[in-house]
Every structure is written in structure tokens, then in C-alpha cells.
């Protein structure tokens, strides 16, 4: 673990000197997490891909301001969360044109489930879609802590650091987000339990 952290700080040092090869290694390390955060927040794979790219580009542009001693992951996730919030606000201001939703890239189906049974596949797709819609219906200040804590596995402290707020606020928002999600998903609880 220590070696990994030492290696990461070395990579960050090199990135601060403009080394893009070192930054590639950081993208490889944190790419999945960043992409998943974007996907859970936005609910669209293609958009999540774009957001992950944008987050890394912004991170590289601002990496000189990164202070040593703090957590690079937390810093990177905060950048990602900001990009997600910007994108969501931009969408609200200017909804995406219809063609982007008509195109198959934004509407591509979920990847095939390895479950052999058709019924299980159907249910898995339904569950994912239900949860995606329920999360998308949450307000932003509830969605972010829920995604970070429940889906990304962050601790309260990490969520608080990413959101730049205190732990008490995180707990409160997380509780409200969970209750709101429960309210939205309660009619389909049996379906979720079946999964």
C-alpha cells in the first residue's frame, strides 16, 4: 500500500512537471472509479465516458495546484464530481437535442448479462433501469453523497472531503437520499430483493 502511494506521489510529481506518460498511469489507476462515478451520476455510458475524459483533462490542467500530503483520489473525485454537476446543470439549461437520444450510442442497451435464464436477464435489466431512474430523480445534493457512499464505497470522511462539507451534513443528506430512494423504489422492492 505504501509502495503504491509512494509510486502515486512520484507519478503526481512527474505530472506536475508536465509528463503525460505519468498521467496515463494515473488515468489507468483511477479511470474506472472516475468513469463509474460519472456513470452513476449521469446514467449514460457515452456521457460518462466524455465526463471522465473531461475530468482527467481538468485534473491535468490543475495538477500543479495539487498539494502534496492530501489524497490525490479525493482531489480527483472532487474534480469529477464538479464536472458531473456542471454537466447536469448544463443539461437543465439546455436539454440535449433529440437526435442524441435517438442515436444508438446514447441508447445502447445494457451489456449482456451472463445469466443464462431469460427471466433473470429481464429482471436484471429492469432492476438496473429502475435504480438508475430513481437515482436520477434525486436532487443533486442528495444524489452525489448517495452515489459516493453507496455505489462508490466512500466513507463519510471521504464524501465530506469530496463535497467540501462536514461529516454531519453528509450523514444528513445521505439519510435523506436513502429515504427518498426507498420511497421511489418501494413499489418494486420485491424485484430488487429477487436480485
Amino acid at each position: 500500500m505504501q509502495e503504491a502511494l509512494a509510486g502515486e506521489s512520484l507519478l503526481i510529481e512527474r505530472c506536475q512537471q508536465g509528463d503525460t506518460i505519468a498521467f496515463d498511469r494515473l488515468v489507468e489507476r483511477h479511470g474506472q472509479w472516475v468513469y463509474n462515478l460519472a456513470y452513476r451520476m449521469i446514467g449514460d455510458r457515452e456521457e460518462a465516458h466524455d465526463i471522465a475524459q473531461e475530468a482527467f483533462v481538468r485534473a491535468f490542467a490543475a495538477i500543479k495546484g495539487f498539494r502534496r500530503g492530501s489524497s490525490f483520489a479525493t482531489w480527483l473525485y472532487r474534480v469529477t464530481a464538479n464536472v458531473c454537476l456542471d454537466e447536469i446543470k448544463r443539461r437543465r439549461r439546455r436539454p440535449a437535442p433529440a437526435t442524441s437520444f435517438l442515436s444508438g450510442e446514447n441508447q445502447r442497451p445494457d451489456p449482456p448479462d451472463p445469466a443464462p435464464d431469460v427471466a433473470q436477464r429481464v429482471e436484471a435489466i429492469e432492476r438496473r433501469e429502475l435504480v438508475r431512474r430513481a437515482i436520477a430523480s434525486l436532487p443533486l445534493h442528495h444524489r452525489l453523497p448517495l452515489v459516493l457512499c453507496e455505489l462508490q464505497g466512500c466513507s463519510y470522511d471521504e464524501v465530506a472531503a469530496i463535497m467540501k462539507t462536514n461529516v454531519g451534513t453528509v450523514k444528513s443528506r445521505l439519510n435523506r437520499a436513502r429515504l427518498a430512494l426507498k420511497k421511489a423504489l418501494e413499489p418494486h422492492l420485491e424485484l430488487l430483493r429477487g436480485g
Binding site: 503525460t20 496515463d24 488515468v27 489507468e28 479511470g31 474506472q32 472516475v34 468513469y35 463509474n36 456513470y39 449521469i42 446514467g43 456521457e47 460518462a48 465516458h49 475524459q53 473531461e54 482527467f56 483533462v57 490542467a61 447536469i88 443539461r91 437543465r92 436539454p95 440535449a96 433529440a98 437520444f101 435517438l102 444508438g104 450510442e105 441508447q107 442497451p109 449482456p112 443464462p116 435464464d117 431469460v118 427471466a119 429481464v122 429482471e123 435489466i125 429492469e126 432492476r127 433501469e129 429502475l130 431512474r133 436520477a136 430523480s137 453507496e150 455505489l151 464505497g153 450523514k171 439519510n175 436513502r178 429515504l179 430512494l181 426507498k182 423504489l185 422492492l189 430483493r193 436480485g195
Partner: protein, 546 residues
């Protein structure tokens, strides 16, 4: 401890974040309460499901894409310029402005400021470049200017002096207030004869008269319609009879609901108290349609009529705003998607002849139709179900199949599900499982052709999904039961209707785009015409028995 307080603590209780006494209180409440344990179990089930969700694999091209975007960024000097030069320029401008504003105040001593008019501080500045021989003349000029300033500041001065001392006199484009009103009245108002619905207006002779004659909204050429309409018809002018505008000579207004309003009655001739008329002002009757009499503003009259948004449309717009799979008017103009799904006949061999079909849609299909058709060429369709498919949720269609629809044992059939999805996207279909619990032969690996993969091949035990690129719609085609597994299909890069037809032809199907419908049928041999079906009453879901 009350229920709402316990519910507030659910998250922390579940995460083990409560201290021991509070935790015991919560547990005691959960043991005693009838409602809260269920609530907590629901919350726990949802959180458990969320935690168990598998992470999405990141795209394999992420590193490469990020690198490409980094390489495409603008040059760093520009970034440095934007970061430092612009704030520096802004700060410099601020300093200059602050200096310009504050320097006269700071540099002028209090005593000098008090005696400035007498000592002619302005003269001192002006005289810095004056030659000695012109000094006396310049001083006289400055004294006159100072005297004018003093007169202007003194109340009760004669009008001529006041006019002479008005700041801005002699400067083109700057007018004292009365003159400005006169000029505005004369120049900005249209000529009297050209005013819509208004008779000739005498030319203003002075500032006061101009003020009287100018309507409150003088710069606008079109006074509010209701005010004009409420004025009585003018008397004929002795000098020049008013020429009514063309629209004023039109036929009388048709009766409109607006005349029932007090204002409308006033226009219709009901006794009202006319407003005081200026002498010489002649107002022709203004023919305006009914709604304008109600006093709608011009902007409101020109604005398009707003329509109430149906709830379904509002939902779709909301989804669109959230980036969800919302509905919209498709670019292709078509609003149908027909999916052919093949199912084995085995489920229909069960006792009772019941067939269960699961349909998962990502949209609502209000007029979905399900028909059975033998997979053999020339088989006739038999409609078995018609109704509404709900959006997203699993639609489990329990279709009773009569003897006429049942096929000889084991022979495959096709289920044809068609309809008009609201958002004009395709919907997923899954065939029923076989009696042995195995998925149908076509429910193997779902594959999808991405644009960047086309042209390409699809193979496998498969459900092929063809994407039409030209019309931006998806067409999910589940191959028929008799389809040879492993068949390779080449898909054109730009899959228009023609290329889709070509692709389908290669797998033995014919694609016929029609108005409001799209049909995919076996191409060989020629399909028999479908049996006419009984018309359904509109808007009613109904089951069909074969």
C-alpha cells in the same frame, strides 16, 4: 423514541455509526414498533442492492482518449496569458479609473476648493497654454463663463438667462427639456396623416402645446388599442375631413364575446363617459378585432398561442432534461418499430394452451399488438393480444392460445409484436422460456453493431441488433427460430432503409417501409397476404383468441 426520530437515525444505525445508548434505543424501538422494522428492512434491502451492484467497466479507450484530448488542448502560453495577463490588465484599469476619480478630490485643498470660483481655478488650468498677449481676452472669457455658471445656479433668473445658461446649449443633439419634448414630438411621431386611426393633428406650436398633444406614450406610434377604441367617433374637421384608414372602412365587426365585457360594451356603443378630448384632435374609429379590445398588449397579440402540455409530454420533457430515455419527436418521422421475435411452440403445448410472453420496453407502447405467425414461409398471422405496454417494466403477457393458433407439435412460430412506441425507439423483447426452463434458441448472446464496427459481422447464437444510422433509430431484430446459428451478416456502414433492406434480404427477410408501419417478412417464397383481422374499438385493450 418516536418513529420519525428513529427513521432519521436509520442510516447511521445501519452503518454502525451510533453510540451505544442511542443504538440500544433504536433497537428497542424497532423491537416494539409495528411499522419501523418494515421500513428499515426496505431501506436495508435497497442499500444492499446498491452495494452489490457491479462496477461498470471503464471504456478501454479511456487512456487513449484522455491523451488525445490533452494533446488537443491549446498551447500553454495562452493559458498563462489568460491566467495572468487578463487579471493584471483588469487591475491596471481599475487603478487608472480609481486614480481618475479620486485625484481631483485628493489633490484639491479644502480652502482652495472653497474659493475656487473666485480665484478661477478653471482659468488657471485653461491659461496654461495661452500666450501672454491673449491672456486678457482669455481671462474675460473665463469671467463670462463663471458669471453664466453663477446665474444658472441662482434661482429666479430671467428665462432668457436661464436658457442661455442651460448646460448643453449649442451642443448638437443636446436639448433642454421643453425643446427636447418639442423635437421628439415633431420628429419622432409619424406625420399626422400617417397615424393609424388618428386624424390630422395640428403641428405643435410650443413646448407646452407639444406636451399637451403628445400622448403619454409619445415615442410609440401605436397607442394602446383599448384606449383608442374607447374614444368616441370624431367630428368632421372643417379644414380637412379625416380620411379613414383602409381597415377602418371595413365591414362592421362581427359580434364577439369581448363585447360582453364592459370595455366591449363601451365600444359597441353603450353609454359611457368619454374622455376629455383635446381641441382639434380627431380620432377615427379604429377597427380592431375582438381580442384586441380586451386590451392585450401587442407583444401578447403577436406571441404564439400557448398550448397546454399533456402530462405524457411533460413526463417526456422531464426525462429529456434529466438525460433519461425520454420521448420526443423523432427525426425520422416514423413512429413505429416492429420487432419480430421467434418463440418455440413448446410453451403452447402446455395444458390450457397458455403462452407467456415477457416484453420489456423502454417506453410506453399504447397500441401494441401481438400476433402469432408460423415460421414456415407463407404462414398467416393470428392476432392474439392487443393492448398497452407499460414503459420500462416487464409486461408479462399471458396469452391464451386457442386451437386455431396452435401449431403442430414442435413447429416453431413467430411472435410479432408491433406498435407505436411513444418515443419511437425500439423495445426489447424476450421470448418465453421453453418448457425445460431453457431460454429460447434466440436468446443467446445479444450483440450490437456500433457504428465504428460497421461494416462488420455478427455471429453467434444470437439476437442481432441492427442499428439504422441514417434515420437514427434502432431496430432490434431477433432472428427467427429457423435461422441458422452462426449466420454472418454484413451490415452497411450507413444503414439506411435501403441498406437495411439489403441486410435483411441476406438473411432471408424482406423489409418494406410503409406509411406508419414497417414490416419485415420472409422474402422467399412470397408471403401470403395476411388474414384480415377484426377491427378493434379504438383506445381499448382487448384480448384476442385465436
Amino acid at each position: 423514541m418516536r418513529c420519525d426520530h428513529v427513521i432519521e437515525l436509520f442510516t447511521r444505525y445501519r452503518d454502525g455509526d451510533l453510540d451505544a445508548p442511542t443504538r440500544q434505543q433504536v433497537e428497542a424501538h424497532l423491537a416494539a414498533c409495528a411499522r419501523c422494522p418494515g421500513e428499515f428492512a426496505s431501506l436495508d434491502a435497497i442499500c444492499t442492492y446498491l452495494r452489490e451492484l457491479r462496477p461498470e467497466p471503464a471504456p478501454a479507450t479511456l487512456v487513449r482518449d484522455v491523451r488525445a484530448r490533452l494533446a488537443a488542448r491549446p498551447e500553454r502560453p495562452r493559458a498563462v496569458l489568460l491566467r495572468w495577463a487578463l487579471p493584471a490588465a483588469a487591475a491596471a484599469a481599475l487603478v487608472v479609473v480609481a486614480f481618475g476619480v479620486l485625484s481631483p478630490i485628493l489633490s484639491r485643498p479644502r480652502e482652495a476648493a472653497r474659493k475656487a470660483p473666485e480665484r478661477g481655478m478653471a482659468l488657471r488650468i485653461d491659461l496654461s497654454h495661452v500666450k501672454p498677449q491673449d491672456l486678457d481676452a482669455a481671462r474675460r472669457k473665463a469671467a463670462e463663463a463663471k458669471a453664466q455658471m453663477l446665474r444658472a445656479a441662482r434661482p429666479g433668473q430671467p428665462p432668457s438667462a436661464a436658457k442661455a445658461s442651460q448646460p448643453g446649449v449649442g451642443i448638437p443633439g443636446v436639448y433642454p427639456a421643453p425643446a427636447a419634448k418639442e423635437r421628439i414630438t415633431r420628429e419622432l411621431l409619424p406625420p399626422p396623416g400617417k397615424q393609424r386611426g388618428i386624424g390630422p393633428v395640428p403641428a405643435p406650436t410650443g413646448a407646452k402645446k407639444a406636451k399637451e398633444e403628445a400622448p403619454p406614450s409619445a415615442p410609440t406610434t401605436e397607442p394602446p388599442a383599448d384606449r383608442l377604441a374607447s374614444r368616441p367617433a370624431p367630428a368632421a374637421s372643417p379644414a380637412k375631413p379625416p380620411a379613414p384608414p383602409p381597415h377602418a372602412a371595413a365591414a362592421p365587426l362581427p359580434p364577439s364575446p369581448s363585447r360582453e365585457s364592459p370595455r366591449g360594451r363601451a365600444q359597441a356603443g353603450a353609454p359611457t363617459t368619454p374622455k376629455a378630448e383635446e381641441p382639434g384632435r380627431k380620432v377615427a374609429p379604429l377597427a380592431v378585432p375582438g381580442p384586441e379590445v380586451e386590451g392585450r398588449s401587442r407583444a401578447a397579440r403577436e406571441a404564439p398561442a400557448l398550448k397546454a402540455v399533456p402530462q405524457a409530454e411533460a413526463d417526456r420533457m422531464r426525462d429529456l432534461a434529466y438525460g433519461g430515455r425520454g420521448g420526443y419527436e423523432g427525426a425520422s418521422g416514423r413512429r413505429q418499430s416492429q420487432v419480430i421475435v421467434s418463440a418455440q411452440a413448446t410453451p403452447m403445448q402446455r395444458a390450457g394452451g397458455s403462452l407467456t410472453l415477457q416484453v420489456t420496453t423502454d417506453q410506453e407502447v399504447p397500441d401494441a399488438r401481438v400476433a402469432l405467425r408460423p415460421a414456415r414461409p407463407g404462414g398467416r398471422e393470428t392476432p392474439v393480444w392487443q393492448g398497452k405496454l407499460n414503459r420500462s417494466l416487464s409486461n408479462s403477457l399471458d396469452i391464451p392460445v386457442g386451437p386455431s393458433a396452435a401449431m403442430p407439435g414442435g413447429s416453431p412460430q413467430e411472435l410479432i409484436v408491433s406498435g407505436s412506441p411513444l418515443n419511437r425507439q425500439a423495445f426489447y423483447l424476450f421470448s418465453p422460456s421453453t418448457a425445460a426452463g431453457e431460454p429460447g434458441p434466440l436468446m443467446g448472446t445479444a450483440d450490437r453493431l456500433k457504428p465504428k464496427h460497421a461494416p462488420g459481422t455478427v455471429s453467434g447464437t444470437w439476437v442481432s441488433i441492427l442499428q439504422t444510422m441514417a434515420s437514427k433509430r434502432n431496430l432490434y431484430i431477433l432472428a427467427p427460430a429457423g435461422f441458422p446459428i452462426g449466420q454472418r451478416v454484413r451490415v452497411a456502414p450507413d444503414l439506411s432503409d435501403e441498406s437495411l433492406a439489403h441486410a435483411l434480404k441476406r438473411i432471408g427477410y424482406e423489409f418494406r417501409p410503409q406509411e406508419g408501419a414497417m414490416t419485415i417478412e420472409p422474402s422467399t417464397p412470397a408471403a401470403a397476404p395476411p388474414r384480415p383481422t377484426r377491427p378493434l374499438p379504438p383506445g381499448r385493450a382487448r384480448r384476442w383468441r385465436g
